[in-house]
């Protein structure tokens, strides 16, 4: 019941939103819908915890053995909660941002939410693919209709990247489908598909590239800074806060358990790519002048760490990834909100044109600094717990020989993160007020409220993250042990 | 008469039709060429059905008649098509005061 509601609420309300004429109405309706989704998601988390409420299966396309099968497990719960928290926050934070044809904008946003919900809930490969595309299509329109001056070119790039990825994934999924017993799209059938080592190898790359583009990791990342920069900020928040998690999620649910041997064998290659990407993105971030691009590159670095942690196949690290998915989403949405506020208040988001904001907007400065510090994983903020667990996992990994080196190289990014984050804070908030800033003022109450909520979540999960760790305990252990058991022989030989 | 003669005759008619369609610019002539191609095929159908009938008449008295029937159908459809086609040509003439198909290059845009 819960999973179906989670998908239907945004889907139906989203379709209805198209017909609203009044901008205010569309806005309120969208916010209401997002809040409703949040309530449903919390219900599933706290009240209706019985498994019978959390899984559902309907006939869909019987002839090809695909069913509408959705389930809310630990991993899904974390991500659905993130998705459900993100949208109300986004809507409140951008309450005053004007949009042309607001009804279409909000309708597409809600459809995107529905699509992402579906991705996190689907237990059927065809359904998964369906929702994957459903989440992407609104994103194209949002970016190309409401984006910045270079939007057409950028959307084109975004489209090519993600479309190539999606097609590769479709080919991979179909190939696996034909190698399951009785040709079924069901997830358990996929988990037991009979594939030779060679088939696994190239299937791995088909699926991996699709997910890697979405995450994104080096060198499939160049769509991201451009898209984040050109999209309307509300869309950027949804993209970076929630949608990039689809890539990680896809790896956890559809790549690792399906192709355990290949995932295990390609671990070192992927980790090397990811760690290169981390350092690469961090170094580039140091030189960015645009706030949005800076945060975009920092996001690439953070996602890279998650990727390494996944491929280190370690239970501690895996749990770290799962809670970090949530934490990173919250933090980066907070950063985007702050950037949106800066841009709206002061008319620019160039580091070189900003300065001395702390004098004009002390409230914003305080909240922004807290979120920025959470982004670089200072202890007692949420990201610390996640990154600590991930690093521990990477270091203790038995899946690779290079665990120490990976830790050290990825650790360098902790330092680089401090460099670019503090530079950003210094240039934006400290020093003397610049011309652009001179006429600004502090943010309004509702904006403070949203950022305040995010800060509270940051501290709450930074100090006491047990609830999340408990939710993800089982699913993480399942994934890790599944791979480790299948690869016991390989491991034995390696030793 | 061997069926080969019919085939060659039909082929010749059909090719004349094609060449006519390709080379002429007057819509009415093109239209006539199309009809010519259609009738070439009709003739072929009749010829084959006769041949069929001659070969199987002993076993099946009605063998090959379906081909003849088919031709009637095609002629009916062709008649309908002619009326539509001529209507289009008339409309075309009203619009551009010419029946030269080279003026009809709107598909490019």
């Amino acid at each position: 019941m819960i999973p179906v509601l989670l998908i239907l609420v945004p889907l139906l309300t989203g379709l209805v939103t198209f017909f609203f004429k009044d901008e205010k109405m569309a806005r309120s309706w969208a916010l209401l819908s997002a809040l409703l989704t949040l309530i449903v998601s919390l219900l599933g988390l706290a009240v209706l915890k019985d498994p019978k409420y959390l899984a559902q299966q309907y006939e869909w396309m019987g002839s090809i053995n695909s069913s509408f099968s959705v389930k809310l497990d630990g991993l899904g719960q974390v991500l659905c909660l993130l998705n459900a928290v993100a949208f109300p926050v986004i809507f409140i934070a951008t309450w005053r941002t004007p949009y042309q044809k607001a009804n279409n904008f909000f309708a597409l946003m809600l459809l995107m939410q529905a699509g992402m919900m579906g991705v996190f809930l689907a237990m059927d490969a065809l359904l998964f693919y369906f929702f994957w595309e459903l989440a992407l299509v609104p994103a194209y329109f949002l970016c190309s209709q409401w984006g910045g001056p270079r939007r057409i070119q950028v959307t084109f790039k975004f489209f090519i990247y993600t479309f190539v990825g999606s097609l590769l994934m479709l080919v991979g999924l179909l190939y696996i489908y034909f190698h399951t017993k009785e040709n079924s799209f069901d997830i358990t059938a996929f988990y037991h598909a009979s594939l030779t080592g060679k088939e696994q190898n190239w299937l791995f790359w088909l699926l991996f590239i699709a997910f890697a583009i979405k995450m994104p990791i080096f060198p499939f990342h160049t769509w991201q800074p451009d898209t984040y920069e050109q999209s309307p900020t509300a869309t950027t928040m949804a993209l970076s806060g929630v949608m990039v998690k689809m890539g990680i999620f896809g790896m956890l649910r559809w790549l690792f358990p399906v192709l355990p041997d290949a995932s295990f064998q390609w671990g070192d290659t992927v980790s090397t790519m990811a760690v290169t990407g981390m350092i690469y993105a961090s170094l580039i971030a140091i030189r960015q002048d645009d706030l949005k691009r800076l945060v975009a590159y920092s996001s690439i670095a953070h996602i890279g760490l998650m990727c390494i942690a996944i491929f280190s196949v370690n239970n501690i690290g895996m749990q770290g990834v799962m809670i970090q998915l949530f934490n990173h989403g919250i933090n980066i949405i907070g950063l985007w909100i702050a950037i949106e506020l800066i841009e709206r208040q002061f008319g620019t988001r160039k580091l070189s044109e900003l300065g001395g904001l702390a004098q004009k907007a002390p409230g914003l400065a305080m909240l922004f600094v807290i979120i920025a510090l959470a982004n670089i994983a200072l202890p007692l903020t949420n990201a610390f717990v996640g990154e600590f667990l991930m690093f521990t996992g990477i270091f203790s990994s038995k899946a690779t020989y290079y665990n120490v080196w990976l830790t050290v190289m990825a650790g360098l990014c902790i330092i680089l993160a401090a460099v670019y984050t503090l530079n950003m804070v210094r240039k934006v908030f400290y020093g003397n007020t610049s011309v652009a800033v001179a006429n600004g003022r502090d943010i309004r109450f509702n904006e403070k409220f949203v950022l305040g909520v995010i800060v509270i979540i940051i501290f709450w999960l930074g100090i006491y993250s047990q609830p999340f760790l408990r939710i993800t305990e089982k699913v993480s252990a399942d994934i890790t042990n599944g791979i480790l058991q299948k690869n016991e022989v390989i491991q034995f030989l390696r030793k | 008469m061997p069926v080969n003669y019919y085939i060659f005759l039909c082929l010749a008619l059909f090719c004349i039709g094609i060449v006519g369609v390709l080379t002429r610019r007057n819509a009415i002539i093109i239209f006539m060429c199309i009809e010519l191609m259609l009738n070439a095929v009709n003739l072929l159908l009749v010829a084959f059905s006769k041949m069929h009938h001659a070969a199987n008449a002993a076993a099946n008295a009605t063998a090959g008649t379906d081909g003849q029937l088919f031709v009637f159908f095609i002629m009916v459809v062709a008649a309908a098509e002619v009326s539509v086609g001529l209507a289009i040509i008339v409309m075309m003439y009203r619009n551009i005061h010419s029946v030269d198909v080279n003026f009809l290059n709107r598909l490019k845009h």
């Binding site: 790039k157 239970n315 002390p362 600590f388 521990t392 270091f395 | -």
Partner: protein, 630 residues
Amino acid sequence: MQNALHIAWLIPLFPLLGFLVNGLGRKYLSKPVIGVIGSGVILASFVMSIWVFMQVKNGNTHIAEYFNFINAAGLKIPFAFQLDQLSSLFLLIITGVGFLIHVYSVSYMHEEKAEHFGRYFSYLNLFVFSMLLLVMGANYVILFIGWEGVGLCSYLLIGYWFKNDEYNKAANKAFIMNRIGDLAFLIAIFWLIAKTGTVSFDVLFSMNGITKLSQADITIITLLLLAGATGKSAQIPLFTWLPDAMAGPTPVSALIHAATMVTAGIYMIARSNILYSLSPFTMHVVAIIGLATALLAATIALKQNDIKKVLAYSTVSQLGFMFLALGTGAYVAAVFHVMTHAFFKALLFLGSGSVIHAMGGEQDIRNMGGLSKKLRITYITFLIGCIAIAGIPPFSGFFSKDAILLSAFEDNKILYGVALFTALLTAFYMFRLLFITFSGKFRGTEEQEHHLHESPPAMTIPLVILALLSIIGGWIGIPEALMNGGDKITEFLSPVIPVATGEAVSHSTEYGLMALSTGLVLAAVLLAWLQFRNYQRREATGLGKVLENKWYVDELYEKVIVNPLRWMGGFLNSIIERRLIDAIVNGVGRAVNYSSRQLRLLQSGQVGSYILLMVLSILLVFVFQFFLRK
């Protein structure tokens, strides 16, 4: 029944509350209220700390577990406090000295606007909170939380006057340099988890934990921890942030240098003494780094002209001494020196603050001189501080430094020689500072001379208290040679830091060493008096110039590390990202675009050409069907 010490969570809670109240309410509270709250919470912690100390002194130690900070997949890290001899001693130092600095700040910062005044005190409270977390943590992770916390607070306080971009850069530098050390610390923690599965002190330092570590593990872990400590405690190679940290208000410098932050590294190594003792190699490295830092910083301090910079380098140098002590196995001596150093360095910094206050913000000692007449209390207390740091008996610095020198002597004669030489330099530059500042003629402007005044009681009373402590603070560690049972601190700390059972030097040698160091120090003081009692401004040349420019270490780092990194960032951004990867992606797009433009030419719109194409294609199919398909 629960141990009485379980309520020790109150100790860090008070400063945290102070932080929240002052931080959130800074716009609504008046300055006196902020001051009272800010200092009051630290006083409350101090009172609690005294109670804890008495409990511990009576033999009651306790590990208080509150909740699970992390409990995932077999890794359990409780949020727990360890209350034992070492932490209770540090609690006293932090809250005690911290309280005096808070009181002093109320008066020192009185010109700030209420809003910024509140911000200042909230940061100060947070600083103390983090430091308390650091020393109370019962495992490396909780310790690390405090560890990063003090780094953050130092960042916030150094950049307190955020309108000045130089200060902000100093703040960034402090934080980033600390983070470099923190990374090493983190890796050490991961290493411990990977090998032993725990980070709790009580398990790690028992046979259960130690036996899971090989000799190589211990050496690497201790080296990594050391790297972490060099960041926080400003040792070679990560020491350059500390002198720049003078950008913050003077009481902050006192707090960073005396009570919190820089002592963290010493505390951490003293806490891990069991691991360190098992790795002789690391011990040598610690001793050499410590001594090299002490010497380097002392030479730089000789030629500095900023009153706070001299003190900053003296801190770096004294920390080097403490590392030397740690490296030679004299953990108690290191902790002892932390304590005495906290007293006299806080005194010296607050004294210098009083001077700067009187001079209206002037920090260059070349523009001072003859202040002893106008600033009596400051002068006397400053003099006491100098005597204490120089190590003249019976002031506190003598006893702790003597313990360090003795331990160096037992370890290695060369170490001892260099250490002694550094101690002489210390005496020399401290008294140089004293004489240039307080004796001779006043060299500042008329206006400054007119403005000169002694500071208000809120500033002088802490000075007097600290001066008193600087005199008597050393008396809890009088060597056995001088007084039987005088070495109370070793005895007190013995449950945490086992007493070395090695062969001690004879009492007569000890007397000789004490006499030697005291005599030489007095000679150094005399030399300083001769040279600087009537100081005249001179430009430094030759080696002096190199020293004045701090051996050009900052410039070296800038050229070797910072610039290449910036260059790399630029290169990757403009060449690889734009010209390579993006070009490939855009190239694909452009190729598709181009080919479609070419193909479009076929669509002429002429029905005839379409039909021709159709016919040709059909012919082609026929040809293919009949002739090529064989």
